[in-house]
Symmetry: D2
């Protein structure tokens, strides 16, 4: 069998570990693997390279993806859809695809499967907001990096009796903020799932100072205050990431200082959360995903993706997997609130 592999969407620590695992597992079974470049652009335009065991030596611990990535969608206007993908596969003798990516990449994979392309998916999202899998690789690394940052901010907060706001990734789901905030002992965690009021946050801030602590507040980039108009005004939509650099974190530090009079600072972690070497946890999960994606192909599967359930790697339909966003349940946030203030 000849397998074509691609990585789509934002980069994520562990992508190379999946690539390596697919190649090793294929090699063990006597299959060939080629890597398509830049997400779906590869299968559409035909840009690819052979991948053998030697090609993936030493990439397990490397962040990013050796295949490059893109947000190209085969079903977008003028991209040629399933026919273009099939044509490339036929021209390069590719029997099946392994598509590694998030909602968009896997959504396209689901549609291709419905259109008769043989494809198995591997879920990837740093935000951990993909339904049907307990965790995705890259998330643990992002939480690890954010936690390290929170540990550092705490010592500077304590030394200067300042409030420090740490803005982490998470546009629609607060998983990174929740886990990094719990791991870092945050005095408040603010996530998109629960609109916040500056007043409530300032109550926590003031109670920290009363108890001789300096507060560290962790906030998801996608968190919005009740009636987020002010934020919208403050945040803007500058194409150069002003939303990211001048977003909710900076705005909130500003509000806290104005309301409480306590010196406040914001740090926006941004891209450092998604790069670098994956944690051991993510390397293991990504490696298992790669091995089991190949196993699924060997079992004749298509239109499924691998997923983590407890300690097992299972297979779920791509439709189901991409149907809904996995957000933080109220019970998890309540668990964290025990430590607020």
């Amino acid at each position: 069998m000849r397998i074509g592999m691609l990585t789509g969407g934002g980069d994520c620590p562990g992508l190379n570990a999946v690539i390596r695992a697919v190649v090793h597992r294929a090699d063990a079974a006597g299959d060939e693997v080629i890597g398509f470049r830049d997400g779906w652009r590869g299968p559409l335009k035909g840009a690819s390279r052979p991948l053998n065991v030697a090609d993936v030596a030493g990439i397990l611990a490397r962040g990013g993806t050796i295949l490059g990535s893109s947000r190209t969608n085969p079903y977008a206007q003028g991209e040629g859809g399933a026919d273009a993908v099939r044509a490339t596969m036929a021209a390069q003798g590719v029997d099946a695809l392994v598509a590694i990516g998030g909602e968009d990449t896997l959504g396209a994979a689901a549609r291709l499967a419905a259109d008769g392309v043989r494809v198995v998916g591997v879920p990837k999202t740093i935000d951990n907001d993909l339904a049907a899998t307990d965790y995705t690789f890259g998330f643990d690394t992002a939480v690890h990096i954010a936690t390290e940052a929170i540990d550092r901010l705490r010592t500077t907060a304590e030394s200067h009796r300042r409030a420090l706001v740490c803005e982490v990734m998470g546009r629609h789901a607060g998983w990174i903020a929740l886990h990094a905030g719990m791991a870092g002992g945050a005095n408040a965690i603010i996530i998109p799932e629960r609109p916040f009021t500056v007043g409530r946050v300032c109550d926590w801030v003031n109670s920290c100072f009363r108890n001789e602590y300096a507060p560290v507040i962790v906030v998801s980039e996608g968190a919005v205050p009740d009636g987020g108009d002010e934020l919208l005004a403050a945040g803007g939509t500058d194409a150069f990431g002003h939303r990211r650099l001048g977003g909710v974190g900076t705005w909130l530090a500003d509000e806290i200082e104005r309301e409480t009079g306590a010196e406040s600072r914001a740090v926006v972690l941004g891209h450092i959360q998604r790069g670098g070497t994956p944690t051991a946890y993510d390397r293991v999960l990504a490696t298992r995903f790669g091995v089991q994606a190949m196993a699924a192909l060997h079992d004749g599967e298509s239109g499924v993706m691998v997923a983590l359930r407890g300690t097992d790697i299972v297979r779920v339909s791509l439709d189901e997997a991409t149907a809904e966003l996995k957000t933080v349940p109220t019970t998890r946030l309540d668990e964290a609130e025990v430590f607020f203030g």
Copy 2:
């Protein structure tokens, strides 16, 4: 309610995170907490200290346990058993216990519960070999440390074309070796669950050198060769850890060099795997365990322990939890073998 808490068995990153969580959750509910010193010795002899929110400030990220630990078993000859524990609890006005520990500590807790002592358990084992929970805190930290070591050994192996053997913890179960080996891209992983032959290991070693790699072999301290007599001879049972320092890892490096003629070295990670700051993963898990242990007490539970199932914290009977050892299933080792040689 007044809760007594203790930590038993070997130390483990995350113990302090559990202690902190129990105290915060109790404080939020208006309960008092006292910490018993040195595992079950505390409730037997009465050595304890009050624990309030201020006492646990800043311990979340610290390894070890502020309560100290011991291997004392209340049911051991002359320790006084349930009566002694009850007497101390009565004298100090303690209504219920939170016992944090591994098989032995929780086994005693189960027996005390059967004898009418109100107790909830929190599972702790770096080896991850406790049944009834997907993972235990401390394990991820140990895997992280071992993986870092393997990453380092690889570069020195490559530079000198040596075989490097890394001995990690795991007397009865190979979880640390399996995960750290997968995460570090080990060329062979040897665990107690599957007796090994030097010949097989040397086949992997030779195939690495043929393919211009330098092999890194990860071995559990409890792994034994088919007919482990030679090892026993080599290892001995010296009370000063000679078993650890001169055990299977050193012996195997010796055998590999003799069989293959390739220069071989062994590193025994030993205690550095169980100390230091817990990973973000372990801090979150330990914190959730602590919160949910208190929730169980508030629900009037006894004789149960908290456990991780998928992403949920559930409650399982202490008897069930300590009934059997959780070893590595064959399927997981097969998954890893894809990368051997």
Copy 3:
């Protein structure tokens, strides 16, 4: 002898290591130590606490300062100057001071020494811009953190063929950018000592893309373009760190994208560079500074500070030490430019 110790200015990893060293060295000599709170505010207002060996247990590896800090200057309008300091010292039986801080803190120490107060200084600046010492503690930690971030940004840059701009600390001197940039293999390093042109930066960016690399540019927060008016306009002077969060890094990424058409992103490391546990290098340097500051007092010195020269800790006059800013010499930047583009 009874010594009063204080930490002034911005917090810096290693301050606690100095405090611990002073206390241990004093204890060994039979001296007493008290810690003044919040920089010079302590000696002015009298807020202090005794410090013995037990008080400093476990702080060696902790960032920040257990004494708190401030920017209070005893010679500022209404602070009371040398008389107020002498009065507090007399009231608390303090014979001499150990002042740990940067230009401002040591400048005040120099003036107090001239006014007859017995004081020895310990230099502290993350920016490493203090004359008369080869290095200051905190700098290596900041470089370590920034280098880690650059390593992470590189993988994401490569995966998306983006230009990534990393803004690091350094208002007047580019030491952190120079060292972190060299250590991270930056494709351009921009520092205050050498005004830059967007055109030159874009030449490096384009040459990277031509050679199939994705550029990572490291820029000091204090770097200014030739004729920095646009920047001033972009940066603003928002009291809530907008200068920091929306400063040269964001502006430069914006310019690069506009000039080259290549997707560009900025990350501003901000406060995470100054917090957290110090590197081994900084712990050793800070510890030696503390020991040698006490040795200077024992030798009857005043008006001097300890400094690193090669591998030796020497004593230099506080006047000399605070006379001028240590900026990056041209030769060092030329060394780095070998790797640009």
Copy 4:
């Protein structure tokens, strides 16, 4: 000009950074570089590969050496000496050599220079025991790794009230033990420069336990007790590193337990100290060494090596550099002893 480069002796983090720097600097000057394989074996047998800028992409942060290493000495019986080296250089059109290594490698370089071969040296020793340079790359990384280990051992020591002995590298000089011990807050540091008595060590151990601490003792692998016969008996000279794994650390833990009755454990860090990614400090130093070695060649130098003096890279004669071992001066150990017990 055409330069031949080689790396000799034990591997060391930063070797690849030197290689990269030499290639970039040569490329900027229009020179060619070839890399000889496996230390002096390359120039003797002719095994080499061209090295251009693309070949060294991404190696800056990688431990080990892409050129491989060996302990081959060109002047050893039957190796052919200067004539063989000259013959290879002539055959491959090599004008000059850059030799990166420790005492042996540089000793051979010095002799080749005397015999008319044009060669510049770059010092390399993890032990930091090479005279004529303040520091060598690799040392800071080794200290960083050892310090991390000591931090971890402390928490486990505290939790179990055990004495923990950490054996680090350093056969003839105690630099790693001294710096890692100071950085880790060791309660005793034992180095080859000062023979120790078990009695003295036990005094420190007992004073720790009296003051409610658990002692962590750092010992160089080359440390010997007054009259080291017992140790010799215990250590042996097993070719498989038994000296390393069963050496002074294990022996000392054994003695401490016997003398004090306190449970004692030993950890031997071994090879993990010399592998993995270099610290930022070492990457900068190694990069500067590489750049300045090429600069020396461009200035027509031969028989010199680059060295760090304060913050400057200077040139010293290879004869001088290899003349004597740099051991820890008494003053430095006295500085550390302030913290013992």
